[in-house]
Protein backbone atom coordinates (compact mmCIF):
# COMPACT_ATOMS: atom_id res chain seq x y z
CA UNK A 1 0.00 0.00 0.00
CA UNK A 2 1.40 3.39 -0.90
CA UNK A 3 2.11 5.94 1.82
CA UNK A 4 -0.45 8.26 0.34
CA UNK A 5 -3.17 5.64 0.57
CA UNK A 6 -2.07 4.74 4.06
CA UNK A 7 -2.22 8.29 5.33
CA UNK A 8 -5.62 8.85 3.73
CA UNK A 9 -6.84 5.71 5.47
CA UNK A 10 -5.42 6.66 8.82
CA UNK A 11 -7.11 10.00 8.55
CA UNK A 12 -10.42 8.37 7.70
CA UNK A 13 -10.16 5.92 10.54
CA UNK A 14 -9.09 8.58 13.04
CA UNK A 15 -12.68 9.80 13.44
CA UNK A 16 -13.81 6.31 14.48
CA UNK A 17 -13.25 5.43 18.13
CA UNK A 18 -13.77 1.68 18.01
CA UNK A 19 -13.50 -0.75 15.14
CA UNK A 20 -14.94 -4.21 15.56
CA UNK A 21 -14.79 -7.07 13.08
CA UNK A 22 -17.43 -9.79 13.03
CA UNK A 23 -15.92 -13.03 11.78
CA UNK A 24 -16.64 -16.71 11.37
CA UNK A 25 -15.04 -19.45 9.36
CA UNK A 26 -18.50 -20.82 8.66
CA UNK A 27 -21.29 -19.41 6.52
CA UNK A 28 -24.86 -18.80 7.64
CA UNK A 29 -24.01 -18.83 11.33
CA UNK A 30 -25.31 -15.31 11.93
CA UNK A 31 -22.44 -12.89 11.37
CA UNK A 32 -24.67 -10.34 9.66
CA UNK A 33 -27.30 -10.92 12.33
CA UNK A 34 -24.83 -10.28 15.14
CA UNK A 35 -23.42 -7.25 13.29
CA UNK A 36 -26.84 -5.70 12.75
CA UNK A 37 -28.19 -6.43 16.20
CA UNK A 38 -25.01 -5.28 17.90
CA UNK A 39 -25.17 -2.02 15.96
CA UNK A 40 -28.81 -1.48 16.91
CA UNK A 41 -28.14 -2.44 20.47
CA UNK A 42 -25.17 -0.09 20.84
CA UNK A 43 -27.10 2.78 19.33
CA UNK A 44 -30.14 2.11 21.51
CA UNK A 45 -28.07 1.84 24.68
CA UNK A 46 -27.33 5.56 24.84
CA UNK A 47 -28.69 8.59 23.03
CA UNK A 48 -25.31 10.07 22.14
CA UNK A 49 -23.74 7.05 20.49
CA UNK A 50 -23.16 6.96 16.72
CA UNK A 51 -22.61 3.61 15.05
CA UNK A 52 -21.66 2.61 11.52
CA UNK A 53 -21.79 -0.77 9.82
CA UNK A 54 -19.50 -1.63 6.95
CA UNK A 55 -20.56 -4.69 4.97
CA UNK A 56 -17.59 -6.24 3.20
CA UNK A 57 -19.46 -9.35 2.09
CA UNK A 58 -19.07 -8.39 -1.56
CA UNK A 59 -20.77 -11.42 -3.09
CA UNK A 60 -23.58 -11.77 -0.55
CA UNK A 61 -24.39 -8.45 1.09
CA UNK A 62 -27.27 -8.95 3.57
CA UNK A 63 -26.94 -5.89 5.78
CA UNK A 64 -29.01 -3.46 3.67
CA UNK A 65 -31.94 -5.87 3.74
CA UNK A 66 -31.61 -6.54 7.44
CA UNK A 67 -31.60 -2.81 8.16
CA UNK A 68 -34.58 -2.26 5.87
CA UNK A 69 -32.65 0.09 3.59
CA UNK A 70 -32.11 -2.16 0.58
CA UNK A 71 -33.84 0.18 -1.82
CA UNK A 72 -31.52 3.06 -0.97
CA UNK A 73 -28.66 4.46 -2.97
CA UNK A 74 -25.35 5.92 -1.92
CA UNK A 75 -24.63 9.55 -2.71
CA UNK A 76 -21.30 11.26 -2.95
CA UNK A 77 -20.27 14.55 -1.44
CA UNK A 78 -16.93 16.32 -1.57
CA UNK A 79 -15.79 14.26 1.41
CA UNK A 80 -16.55 10.92 -0.26
CA UNK A 81 -19.36 8.39 -0.19
CA UNK A 82 -22.17 9.21 2.20
CA UNK A 83 -23.28 6.07 4.04
CA UNK A 84 -27.01 5.29 4.11
CA UNK A 85 -28.76 6.36 7.30
CA UNK A 86 -31.17 4.34 9.40
CA UNK A 87 -33.75 6.00 11.61
CA UNK A 88 -34.26 4.53 15.07
CA UNK A 89 -37.75 4.81 16.42
CA UNK A 90 -37.75 7.33 19.24
CA UNK A 91 -35.06 9.44 17.59
CA UNK A 92 -35.89 12.78 16.01
CA UNK A 93 -33.37 12.48 13.23
CA UNK A 94 -31.54 9.65 11.49
CA UNK A 95 -28.06 10.55 12.47
CA UNK A 96 -27.02 7.70 14.79
CA UNK A 97 -26.85 4.59 12.64
CA UNK A 98 -25.50 4.35 9.12
CA UNK A 99 -24.28 1.71 6.73
CA UNK A 100 -22.12 1.20 3.67
CA UNK A 101 -22.47 -1.90 1.51
CA UNK A 102 -21.94 -2.98 -2.07
CA UNK A 103 -25.66 -3.72 -2.05
CA UNK A 104 -26.28 0.01 -2.56
CA UNK A 105 -24.14 0.08 -5.68
CA UNK A 106 -25.84 -2.72 -7.62
CA UNK A 107 -28.28 -1.97 -10.41
CA UNK A 108 -30.65 -4.78 -9.53
CA UNK A 109 -30.78 -6.82 -6.38
CA UNK A 110 -30.38 -10.00 -8.43
CA UNK A 111 -27.09 -8.86 -9.91
CA UNK A 112 -24.40 -11.38 -9.16
CA UNK A 113 -21.09 -9.85 -8.21
CA UNK A 114 -18.80 -12.27 -9.99
CA UNK A 115 -15.43 -10.97 -8.93
CA UNK A 116 -12.10 -12.51 -8.25
CA UNK A 117 -9.95 -11.43 -5.32
CA UNK A 118 -8.14 -8.37 -6.69
CA UNK A 119 -11.36 -6.61 -7.58
CA UNK A 120 -12.83 -7.36 -4.15
CA UNK A 121 -9.63 -6.04 -2.63
CA UNK A 122 -9.93 -2.70 -4.40
CA UNK A 123 -13.59 -2.39 -3.50
CA UNK A 124 -12.88 -2.94 0.20
CA UNK A 125 -9.99 -0.54 0.11
CA UNK A 126 -12.24 2.04 -1.51
CA UNK A 127 -14.95 1.50 1.11
CA UNK A 128 -12.46 2.16 3.88
CA UNK A 129 -10.77 5.06 2.15
CA UNK A 130 -13.71 6.87 0.65
CA UNK A 131 -16.65 6.46 2.99
CA UNK A 132 -17.41 9.63 4.86
CA UNK A 133 -18.49 8.31 8.24
CA UNK A 134 -17.97 11.43 10.25
CA UNK A 135 -17.41 10.90 13.98
CA UNK A 136 -18.36 7.39 15.04
CA UNK A 137 -18.20 5.72 18.41
CA UNK A 138 -18.08 2.33 16.78
CA UNK A 139 -17.72 0.86 13.32
CA UNK A 140 -18.85 -2.72 12.97
CA UNK A 141 -17.44 -4.58 10.03
CA UNK A 142 -19.43 -7.57 8.77
CA UNK A 143 -17.49 -10.10 6.72
CA UNK A 144 -18.16 -13.08 4.47
CA UNK A 145 -17.20 -16.56 5.76
CA UNK A 146 -13.66 -17.78 5.36
CA UNK A 147 -10.06 -16.70 5.64
CA UNK A 148 -9.37 -15.43 2.18
CA UNK A 149 -9.13 -12.24 0.15
CA UNK A 150 -11.60 -10.09 2.06
CA UNK A 151 -10.12 -11.06 5.41
CA UNK A 152 -6.51 -10.70 4.43
CA UNK A 153 -7.30 -7.34 2.85
CA UNK A 154 -9.06 -6.09 5.96
CA UNK A 155 -6.28 -7.24 8.24
CA UNK A 156 -3.69 -5.53 6.07
CA UNK A 157 -5.55 -2.28 5.59
CA UNK A 158 -6.61 -1.91 9.21
CA UNK A 159 -3.30 -2.91 10.72
CA UNK A 160 -2.06 0.65 11.24
CA UNK A 161 -5.33 1.93 12.60
CA UNK A 162 -5.54 -0.87 15.16
CA UNK A 163 -9.00 -2.42 15.26
CA UNK A 164 -10.27 -3.24 18.76
CA UNK A 165 -10.68 -6.84 17.71
CA UNK A 166 -12.96 -9.50 16.36
CA UNK A 167 -16.16 -11.07 17.55
CA UNK A 168 -16.30 -14.68 16.47
CA UNK A 169 -19.72 -16.12 15.68
CA UNK A 170 -20.42 -19.83 15.61
CA UNK A 171 -23.29 -22.25 15.76
CA UNK A 172 -22.96 -25.11 18.27
CA UNK A 173 -22.37 -28.08 15.98
CA UNK A 174 -19.04 -29.70 15.10
CA UNK A 175 -18.88 -28.75 11.40
CA UNK A 176 -19.21 -25.15 12.34
CA UNK A 177 -16.76 -25.26 15.26
CA UNK A 178 -14.16 -26.89 13.03
CA UNK A 179 -14.23 -23.90 10.65
CA UNK A 180 -14.34 -21.42 13.48
CA UNK A 181 -11.20 -22.85 15.09
CA UNK A 182 -9.44 -22.02 11.84
CA UNK A 183 -10.78 -18.48 12.04
CA UNK A 184 -9.43 -17.99 15.56
CA UNK A 185 -6.03 -19.22 14.45
CA UNK A 186 -6.27 -16.82 11.53
CA UNK A 187 -6.79 -13.95 13.98
CA UNK A 188 -3.86 -15.10 16.08
CA UNK A 189 -1.61 -15.33 13.03
CA UNK A 190 -2.54 -11.89 11.76
CA UNK A 191 -2.47 -10.24 15.16
CA UNK A 192 -6.17 -9.41 15.42
CA UNK A 193 -7.30 -9.58 19.07
CA UNK A 194 -10.33 -11.78 19.69
CA UNK A 195 -12.98 -10.02 21.76
CA UNK A 196 -14.97 -13.18 22.34
CA UNK A 197 -17.21 -15.91 20.97
CA UNK A 198 -20.96 -15.74 20.40
CA UNK A 199 -22.86 -19.00 20.06
CA UNK A 200 -25.84 -18.45 17.80
CA UNK A 201 -28.84 -20.69 17.07
CA UNK A 202 -28.43 -22.74 20.19
CA UNK A 203 -31.69 -24.37 21.12
CA UNK A 204 -35.20 -23.78 19.87
CA UNK A 205 -38.18 -23.38 22.18
CA UNK A 206 -41.29 -24.89 20.57
CA UNK A 207 -43.93 -22.14 20.49
CA UNK A 208 -46.55 -24.83 21.12
CA UNK A 209 -45.24 -26.76 24.13
CA UNK A 210 -42.10 -24.78 25.10
CA UNK A 211 -39.96 -27.90 24.87
CA UNK A 212 -36.41 -26.86 24.00
CA UNK A 213 -34.81 -28.82 21.17
CA UNK A 214 -31.14 -28.30 20.44
CA UNK A 215 -31.49 -28.55 16.68
CA UNK A 216 -27.85 -27.77 16.11
CA UNK A 217 -26.83 -29.11 19.54
CA UNK A 218 -25.73 -26.69 22.25
CA UNK A 219 -22.75 -25.58 24.31
CA UNK A 220 -20.13 -25.89 21.54
CA UNK A 221 -19.33 -22.18 21.58
CA UNK A 222 -18.61 -22.08 25.29
CA UNK A 223 -16.31 -25.09 25.03
CA UNK A 224 -14.52 -23.49 22.13
CA UNK A 225 -13.97 -20.30 24.10
CA UNK A 226 -12.57 -22.29 27.02
CA UNK A 227 -10.29 -24.25 24.76
CA UNK A 228 -8.78 -21.08 23.26
CA UNK A 229 -8.95 -19.19 26.52
CA UNK A 230 -11.07 -16.37 25.14
CA UNK A 231 -14.23 -14.74 26.45
CA UNK A 232 -17.58 -16.38 25.90
CA UNK A 233 -20.02 -13.59 25.17
CA UNK A 234 -23.33 -15.40 25.14
CA UNK A 235 -25.75 -17.80 23.56
CA UNK A 236 -28.57 -16.66 21.25
CA UNK A 237 -31.40 -19.16 20.77
CA UNK A 238 -33.05 -19.86 17.42
CA UNK A 239 -35.82 -17.31 17.22
CA UNK A 240 -38.20 -17.27 14.24
CA UNK A 241 -39.19 -13.70 15.13
CA UNK A 242 -35.60 -12.59 14.78
CA UNK A 243 -35.38 -14.19 11.35
CA UNK A 244 -38.66 -12.57 10.23
CA UNK A 245 -37.68 -9.14 11.48
CA UNK A 246 -34.44 -9.33 9.54
CA UNK A 247 -36.24 -10.48 6.40
CA UNK A 248 -38.58 -7.56 6.68
CA UNK A 249 -35.91 -5.09 7.72
CA UNK A 250 -37.61 -4.39 11.04
CA UNK A 251 -35.83 -3.45 14.21
CA UNK A 252 -36.03 -6.66 16.25
CA UNK A 253 -34.78 -5.23 19.54
CA UNK A 254 -37.46 -2.55 19.52
CA UNK A 255 -40.17 -4.93 18.29
CA UNK A 256 -39.57 -7.77 20.78
CA UNK A 257 -37.60 -6.28 23.67
CA UNK A 258 -38.89 -8.89 26.13
CA UNK A 259 -37.85 -11.97 24.14
CA UNK A 260 -35.09 -14.24 25.43
CA UNK A 261 -32.97 -13.54 22.38
CA UNK A 262 -33.30 -9.75 22.69
CA UNK A 263 -32.21 -9.96 26.33
CA UNK A 264 -29.25 -12.13 25.47
CA UNK A 265 -28.26 -9.72 22.69
CA UNK A 266 -28.32 -6.92 25.21
CA UNK A 267 -26.07 -8.91 27.55
CA UNK A 268 -23.65 -9.55 24.76
CA UNK A 269 -23.58 -5.87 23.86
CA UNK A 270 -22.87 -4.93 27.45
CA UNK A 271 -19.96 -7.35 27.63
CA UNK A 272 -18.53 -5.97 24.43
CA UNK A 273 -18.91 -2.39 25.63
CA UNK A 274 -17.01 -3.26 28.78
CA UNK A 275 -14.36 -5.04 26.86
CA UNK A 276 -13.67 -2.13 24.52
CA UNK A 277 -14.35 0.42 27.27
CA UNK A 278 -17.15 2.16 25.49
CA UNK A 279 -19.14 3.07 28.56
Amino acid sequence: MSDQVQSKLLKRMSTIKHKILVLSGKGGVGKSTVSTQLAFSLALSRKDIRVGILDVDICGPSIPKMLGIDKNEVFTCTEGWVPVKVKLSGDDDDNRLCCMSIGFLLQSEDDAVVWRGPKKHSMIQQFLEDTYWGDLDALIIDTPPGTSDEHITLAEILKESKPDGAIIVTTPQGVSLADVRKEINFCNKLGIPVLGVVENMSGFACPCCNEITNIFSSGGGRKLAEQFNIDFLGQIPIDPQLASCEDEGKNFLQSFPESASAKELENITNKIKKRITLL
Binding site: V114, C208, T213, E248
Partner: protein, 344 residues
Protein backbone atom coordinates in the same frame (compact mmCIF):
# COMPACT_ATOMS: atom_id res chain seq x y z
CA UNK B 1 -20.48 -18.05 -26.44
CA UNK B 2 -17.73 -15.45 -26.51
CA UNK B 3 -14.32 -16.31 -25.18
CA UNK B 4 -14.66 -13.66 -22.52
CA UNK B 5 -13.69 -14.90 -19.07
CA UNK B 6 -16.48 -15.82 -16.70
CA UNK B 7 -15.85 -12.79 -14.51
CA UNK B 8 -15.45 -10.28 -17.35
CA UNK B 9 -17.37 -7.01 -17.65
CA UNK B 10 -20.38 -7.22 -19.92
CA UNK B 11 -18.50 -5.10 -22.46
CA UNK B 12 -15.38 -7.30 -22.49
CA UNK B 13 -14.09 -7.93 -26.02
CA UNK B 14 -12.53 -11.23 -24.94
CA UNK B 15 -8.84 -11.96 -24.43
CA UNK B 16 -8.45 -13.47 -27.91
CA UNK B 17 -9.72 -10.40 -29.70
CA UNK B 18 -7.36 -8.14 -31.65
CA UNK B 19 -8.69 -5.34 -29.48
CA UNK B 20 -7.82 -7.18 -26.25
CA UNK B 21 -6.35 -4.79 -23.73
CA UNK B 22 -6.83 -1.85 -26.08
CA UNK B 23 -10.58 -1.42 -26.30
CA UNK B 24 -12.16 1.38 -24.32
CA UNK B 25 -13.95 -1.16 -22.14
CA UNK B 26 -10.56 -2.55 -21.06
CA UNK B 27 -9.84 0.64 -19.14
CA UNK B 28 -9.56 -0.20 -15.45
CA UNK B 29 -9.86 -3.97 -15.93
CA UNK B 30 -7.36 -5.89 -13.78
CA UNK B 31 -6.41 -8.07 -16.78
CA UNK B 32 -5.77 -5.17 -19.14
CA UNK B 33 -1.99 -5.50 -19.16
CA UNK B 34 -2.12 -9.24 -19.54
CA UNK B 35 -4.53 -9.01 -22.45
CA UNK B 36 -2.58 -6.24 -24.19
CA UNK B 37 0.58 -8.33 -24.00
CA UNK B 38 -1.08 -11.04 -26.06
CA UNK B 39 -0.71 -13.48 -23.17
CA UNK B 40 -4.49 -13.83 -23.08
CA UNK B 41 -4.57 -15.15 -26.62
CA UNK B 42 -2.73 -18.25 -25.49
CA UNK B 43 -5.04 -21.07 -24.48
CA UNK B 44 -4.67 -22.10 -20.83
CA UNK B 45 -3.36 -25.65 -21.36
CA UNK B 46 -5.20 -26.79 -18.25
CA UNK B 47 -8.56 -26.36 -19.98
CA UNK B 48 -7.83 -29.21 -22.33
CA UNK B 49 -6.00 -31.29 -19.76
CA UNK B 50 -9.02 -31.06 -17.50
CA UNK B 51 -11.36 -31.87 -20.35
CA UNK B 52 -9.30 -35.02 -20.88
CA UNK B 53 -9.15 -35.93 -17.23
CA UNK B 54 -12.92 -35.51 -16.92
CA UNK B 55 -13.69 -37.90 -19.78
CA UNK B 56 -13.90 -40.78 -17.35
CA UNK B 57 -16.70 -39.04 -15.42
CA UNK B 58 -20.22 -39.53 -16.75
CA UNK B 59 -22.09 -36.95 -14.72
CA UNK B 60 -20.77 -33.88 -12.98
CA UNK B 61 -22.77 -31.68 -10.65
CA UNK B 62 -21.88 -28.48 -8.90
CA UNK B 63 -23.65 -27.84 -5.61
CA UNK B 64 -23.99 -24.09 -5.23
CA UNK B 65 -25.58 -21.44 -3.07
CA UNK B 66 -24.95 -17.75 -2.70
CA UNK B 67 -25.57 -18.10 1.02
CA UNK B 68 -23.43 -19.86 3.60
CA UNK B 69 -24.62 -22.49 6.03
CA UNK B 70 -27.67 -23.44 4.00
CA UNK B 71 -26.58 -27.06 3.66
CA UNK B 72 -24.47 -27.33 0.52
CA UNK B 73 -22.01 -29.72 2.10
CA UNK B 74 -24.81 -31.61 3.81
CA UNK B 75 -26.63 -32.01 0.53
CA UNK B 76 -23.45 -32.85 -1.41
CA UNK B 77 -22.51 -35.59 1.00
CA UNK B 78 -26.04 -37.00 1.35
CA UNK B 79 -26.52 -36.92 -2.42
CA UNK B 80 -23.24 -38.75 -2.97
CA UNK B 81 -24.11 -41.31 -0.30
CA UNK B 82 -27.54 -41.84 -1.86
CA UNK B 83 -26.12 -42.22 -5.36
CA UNK B 84 -23.70 -44.84 -4.07
CA UNK B 85 -26.44 -47.09 -2.68
CA UNK B 86 -27.68 -49.98 -4.78
CA UNK B 87 -31.19 -50.12 -6.23
CA UNK B 88 -32.42 -52.64 -3.72
CA UNK B 89 -31.54 -50.48 -0.73
CA UNK B 90 -33.07 -47.46 -2.44
CA UNK B 91 -36.35 -49.18 -3.24
CA UNK B 92 -36.64 -50.49 0.31
CA UNK B 93 -35.89 -47.04 1.67
CA UNK B 94 -38.64 -45.61 -0.51
CA UNK B 95 -41.01 -47.81 1.46
CA UNK B 96 -39.46 -46.54 4.65
CA UNK B 97 -37.59 -49.74 5.37
CA UNK B 98 -34.00 -50.17 6.39
CA UNK B 99 -31.70 -52.38 4.37
CA UNK B 100 -30.70 -55.87 5.49
CA UNK B 101 -27.15 -57.15 5.37
CA UNK B 102 -27.81 -59.29 2.34
CA UNK B 103 -28.96 -56.24 0.37
CA UNK B 104 -25.49 -54.86 0.54
CA UNK B 105 -23.65 -57.86 -0.86
CA UNK B 106 -26.06 -58.01 -3.75
CA UNK B 107 -24.08 -58.56 -6.91
CA UNK B 108 -25.29 -55.69 -9.00
CA UNK B 109 -23.88 -52.90 -11.05
CA UNK B 110 -22.01 -50.77 -8.61
CA UNK B 111 -22.31 -47.02 -9.05
CA UNK B 112 -18.97 -45.25 -8.71
CA UNK B 113 -19.28 -41.90 -6.99
CA UNK B 114 -16.74 -39.17 -6.33
CA UNK B 115 -16.99 -36.08 -4.16
CA UNK B 116 -14.75 -33.08 -4.72
CA UNK B 117 -14.69 -30.37 -2.05
CA UNK B 118 -13.51 -27.02 -3.40
CA UNK B 119 -14.37 -25.13 -0.22
CA UNK B 120 -10.73 -24.49 0.61
CA UNK B 121 -11.14 -22.21 3.63
CA UNK B 122 -13.94 -24.17 5.28
CA UNK B 123 -13.83 -27.78 4.13
CA UNK B 124 -16.65 -29.72 5.83
CA UNK B 125 -16.64 -32.76 3.58
CA UNK B 126 -14.03 -34.83 5.45
CA UNK B 127 -16.07 -34.54 8.62
CA UNK B 128 -19.35 -35.29 6.91
CA UNK B 129 -17.92 -38.61 5.74
CA UNK B 130 -16.18 -39.28 9.05
CA UNK B 131 -12.81 -39.22 7.27
CA UNK B 132 -11.10 -36.45 9.23
CA UNK B 133 -7.89 -38.33 9.85
CA UNK B 134 -7.34 -39.36 6.23
CA UNK B 135 -4.60 -38.10 3.94
CA UNK B 136 -4.34 -37.80 0.18
CA UNK B 137 -1.68 -39.98 -1.37
CA UNK B 138 0.43 -39.26 -4.36
CA UNK B 139 0.96 -42.09 -6.85
CA UNK B 140 2.27 -42.20 -10.39
CA UNK B 141 -1.33 -42.06 -11.62
CA UNK B 142 -2.04 -38.86 -9.69
CA UNK B 143 -3.49 -37.99 -6.32
CA UNK B 144 -5.52 -40.81 -4.89
CA UNK B 145 -8.66 -39.85 -2.99
CA UNK B 146 -9.71 -41.00 0.45
CA UNK B 147 -12.31 -43.76 0.28
CA UNK B 148 -15.50 -43.78 2.36
CA UNK B 149 -16.20 -47.17 0.84
CA UNK B 150 -15.11 -48.96 -2.32
CA UNK B 151 -17.41 -47.03 -4.58
CA UNK B 152 -17.27 -43.64 -2.89
CA UNK B 153 -14.14 -41.54 -3.22
CA UNK B 154 -13.56 -38.17 -1.56
CA UNK B 155 -11.10 -35.35 -2.22
CA UNK B 156 -10.75 -32.29 0.00
CA UNK B 157 -8.08 -29.85 1.14
CA UNK B 158 -8.95 -31.13 4.61
CA UNK B 159 -6.86 -34.21 3.80
CA UNK B 160 -3.82 -32.06 3.11
CA UNK B 161 -3.56 -29.98 6.27
CA UNK B 162 -0.95 -31.02 8.82
CA UNK B 163 -3.27 -29.84 11.58
CA UNK B 164 -7.06 -29.73 11.30
CA UNK B 165 -7.26 -26.27 12.93
CA UNK B 166 -4.78 -24.65 10.56
CA UNK B 167 -6.39 -21.79 8.70
CA UNK B 168 -5.93 -21.70 4.93
CA UNK B 169 -5.03 -18.04 4.47
CA UNK B 170 -4.94 -17.89 0.70
CA UNK B 171 -5.88 -15.27 -1.80
CA UNK B 172 -7.55 -16.20 -5.09
CA UNK B 173 -4.65 -17.26 -7.33
CA UNK B 174 -3.43 -19.87 -4.87
CA UNK B 175 -6.94 -21.25 -4.48
CA UNK B 176 -7.32 -21.40 -8.23
CA UNK B 177 -4.08 -23.32 -8.53
CA UNK B 178 -5.23 -26.02 -6.16
CA UNK B 179 -8.65 -26.33 -7.78
CA UNK B 180 -6.96 -26.79 -11.13
CA UNK B 181 -4.85 -29.56 -9.65
CA UNK B 182 -7.88 -31.20 -8.08
CA UNK B 183 -9.68 -31.25 -11.43
CA UNK B 184 -6.69 -32.39 -13.42
CA UNK B 185 -4.50 -34.52 -11.20
CA UNK B 186 -6.80 -36.69 -9.11
CA UNK B 187 -6.94 -40.33 -10.10
CA UNK B 188 -10.56 -41.32 -9.52
CA UNK B 189 -10.13 -44.85 -10.90
CA UNK B 190 -11.13 -46.16 -14.33
CA UNK B 191 -14.45 -44.43 -14.38
CA UNK B 192 -16.90 -42.49 -12.27
CA UNK B 193 -20.65 -42.42 -12.73
CA UNK B 194 -21.10 -39.27 -10.70
CA UNK B 195 -18.86 -36.51 -9.46
CA UNK B 196 -20.44 -34.19 -6.92
CA UNK B 197 -18.57 -30.91 -6.41
CA UNK B 198 -19.20 -29.03 -3.16
CA UNK B 199 -18.44 -25.32 -3.23
CA UNK B 200 -18.00 -22.47 -0.75
CA UNK B 201 -20.70 -19.80 -0.57
CA UNK B 202 -20.56 -16.90 -3.00
CA UNK B 203 -19.64 -16.18 -6.59
CA UNK B 204 -15.93 -15.59 -6.50
CA UNK B 205 -12.62 -17.19 -7.36
CA UNK B 206 -13.51 -20.80 -6.63
CA UNK B 207 -16.72 -20.59 -8.65
CA UNK B 208 -15.25 -18.70 -11.55
CA UNK B 209 -12.37 -21.13 -11.75
CA UNK B 210 -14.37 -24.32 -11.55
CA UNK B 211 -16.87 -23.07 -14.14
CA UNK B 212 -14.15 -21.86 -16.47
CA UNK B 213 -12.57 -25.30 -16.47
CA UNK B 214 -15.69 -27.41 -16.48
CA UNK B 215 -17.80 -25.62 -19.04
CA UNK B 216 -15.56 -27.21 -21.65
CA UNK B 217 -15.82 -30.56 -19.95
CA UNK B 218 -19.47 -31.53 -20.19
CA UNK B 219 -20.72 -30.31 -16.83
CA UNK B 220 -24.27 -31.54 -16.30
CA UNK B 221 -25.17 -28.48 -14.29
CA UNK B 222 -25.68 -26.97 -10.89
CA UNK B 223 -27.93 -27.87 -8.01
CA UNK B 224 -28.69 -24.72 -6.07
CA UNK B 225 -29.47 -24.90 -2.35
CA UNK B 226 -31.37 -22.32 -0.37
CA UNK B 227 -33.12 -22.01 2.96
CA UNK B 228 -36.62 -20.50 2.93
CA UNK B 229 -36.00 -17.04 4.35
CA UNK B 230 -35.68 -13.91 2.22
CA UNK B 231 -32.10 -13.11 3.22
CA UNK B 232 -31.01 -16.46 1.90
CA UNK B 233 -33.22 -16.35 -1.19
CA UNK B 234 -31.75 -12.95 -2.05
CA UNK B 235 -28.26 -14.43 -2.17
CA UNK B 236 -29.47 -17.43 -4.10
CA UNK B 237 -31.09 -15.20 -6.70
CA UNK B 238 -27.64 -13.80 -7.32
CA UNK B 239 -26.30 -17.32 -7.65
CA UNK B 240 -28.97 -18.16 -10.23
CA UNK B 241 -28.07 -14.99 -12.14
CA UNK B 242 -24.49 -16.18 -12.04
CA UNK B 243 -25.45 -19.56 -13.55
CA UNK B 244 -27.35 -17.80 -16.28
CA UNK B 245 -24.52 -15.39 -16.95
CA UNK B 246 -21.90 -18.09 -17.32
CA UNK B 247 -24.25 -20.41 -19.13
CA UNK B 248 -24.36 -23.40 -16.85
CA UNK B 249 -27.61 -25.36 -16.73
CA UNK B 250 -29.46 -25.41 -13.43
CA UNK B 251 -30.58 -28.92 -12.57
CA UNK B 252 -32.82 -27.49 -9.92
CA UNK B 253 -33.34 -25.70 -6.64
CA UNK B 254 -33.50 -27.51 -3.29
CA UNK B 255 -35.04 -25.81 -0.27
CA UNK B 256 -33.34 -26.99 2.90
CA UNK B 257 -34.34 -26.50 6.55
CA UNK B 258 -38.00 -25.97 5.70
CA UNK B 259 -40.08 -26.40 8.81
CA UNK B 260 -39.19 -28.02 12.12
CA UNK B 261 -41.29 -30.71 13.72
CA UNK B 262 -41.14 -30.60 17.53
CA UNK B 263 -40.11 -34.05 18.74
CA UNK B 264 -42.34 -33.56 21.78
CA UNK B 265 -45.69 -32.33 20.46
CA UNK B 266 -45.19 -33.03 16.71
CA UNK B 267 -46.26 -29.52 15.87
CA UNK B 268 -44.51 -28.02 12.89
CA UNK B 269 -42.92 -24.57 13.14
CA UNK B 270 -41.59 -22.76 10.11
CA UNK B 271 -38.49 -21.41 11.83
CA UNK B 272 -37.12 -19.93 8.66
CA UNK B 273 -40.07 -18.75 6.67
CA UNK B 274 -40.16 -16.56 3.63
CA UNK B 275 -41.74 -13.16 4.24
CA UNK B 276 -42.04 -11.89 0.70
CA UNK B 277 -40.01 -14.10 -1.55
CA UNK B 278 -42.09 -17.29 -1.37
CA UNK B 279 -39.02 -19.42 -0.68
CA UNK B 280 -37.25 -21.91 -2.92
CA UNK B 281 -40.19 -23.00 -5.02
CA UNK B 282 -41.13 -19.48 -6.04
CA UNK B 283 -37.49 -18.73 -6.74
CA UNK B 284 -37.24 -21.70 -9.09
CA UNK B 285 -40.41 -20.64 -10.82
CA UNK B 286 -39.18 -17.09 -11.32
CA UNK B 287 -35.95 -18.27 -12.88
CA UNK B 288 -37.68 -20.96 -14.92
CA UNK B 289 -35.71 -23.84 -13.40
CA UNK B 290 -36.99 -27.05 -11.78
CA UNK B 291 -37.82 -27.14 -8.09
CA UNK B 292 -36.47 -30.39 -6.69
CA UNK B 293 -38.01 -30.43 -3.21
CA UNK B 294 -37.83 -29.43 0.44
CA UNK B 295 -35.83 -31.05 3.20
CA UNK B 296 -37.15 -30.33 6.70
CA UNK B 297 -35.02 -29.09 9.57
CA UNK B 298 -34.29 -32.24 11.53
CA UNK B 299 -31.75 -32.60 14.36
CA UNK B 300 -31.20 -36.17 13.24
CA UNK B 301 -29.99 -34.91 9.86
CA UNK B 302 -27.36 -32.87 11.61
CA UNK B 303 -26.35 -35.79 13.79
CA UNK B 304 -26.03 -38.16 10.84
CA UNK B 305 -23.82 -35.56 9.14
CA UNK B 306 -21.62 -35.09 12.19
CA UNK B 307 -21.11 -38.83 12.23
CA UNK B 308 -20.61 -39.45 8.53
CA UNK B 309 -23.78 -41.49 8.01
CA UNK B 310 -26.34 -41.62 5.22
CA UNK B 311 -29.75 -40.50 6.46
CA UNK B 312 -31.41 -42.76 3.90
CA UNK B 313 -29.72 -45.77 5.43
CA UNK B 314 -29.96 -44.67 9.04
CA UNK B 315 -33.56 -43.48 9.18
CA UNK B 316 -35.29 -44.29 5.91
CA UNK B 317 -38.73 -43.51 7.28
CA UNK B 318 -37.98 -39.92 8.34
CA UNK B 319 -39.54 -37.12 6.29
CA UNK B 320 -36.05 -35.78 5.54
CA UNK B 321 -34.98 -39.10 4.01
CA UNK B 322 -38.13 -39.42 1.99
CA UNK B 323 -37.65 -35.89 0.67
CA UNK B 324 -34.05 -36.64 -0.20
CA UNK B 325 -34.99 -39.84 -2.04
CA UNK B 326 -37.46 -37.87 -4.13
CA UNK B 327 -34.83 -35.25 -4.93
CA UNK B 328 -32.17 -37.81 -5.82
CA UNK B 329 -34.60 -39.49 -8.20
CA UNK B 330 -35.34 -36.18 -9.88
CA UNK B 331 -31.67 -35.40 -10.20
CA UNK B 332 -31.05 -38.78 -11.82
CA UNK B 333 -33.94 -38.32 -14.25
CA UNK B 334 -32.89 -34.81 -15.09
CA UNK B 335 -29.32 -35.68 -15.82
CA UNK B 336 -30.10 -38.76 -17.88
CA UNK B 337 -32.38 -36.60 -19.89
CA UNK B 338 -29.73 -33.90 -20.23
CA UNK B 339 -27.20 -36.42 -21.35
CA UNK B 340 -29.45 -37.88 -24.00
CA UNK B 341 -29.97 -34.43 -25.40
CA UNK B 342 -26.29 -33.91 -25.49
CA UNK B 343 -25.21 -37.16 -27.13
CA UNK B 344 -27.90 -37.63 -29.71
Amino acid sequence: MSDAPVDANSTCVGPKSEQAGKASSCEGCPSQLLCASGEGRKEDPAVNQIKDAMRIVKHKFLVLSGKGGVGKSTFSSQLALALSLNDKIISKARQGQAAMDEDEDEDMNVTQVGVLDIDLCGPSIPRMFGLESQQLHQSNLGWSPAYYKDNLAVVSIGFMLPNADDPVIWRGPKKNGLIKQFLRDVYWGDSLDYLVIDTPPGTSDEHITVVQYLREADLDGAIVITTPQDVSCADVRRELSFCKKVNIPVIGVVENMSGFVCPNCKNETKIFKPSKSGGGEKLAEQFGVPFLGRIPLDPRVMNACENGKSIIEEMPDSPASQALLEIVQKVKNQTNHLHQNKTF
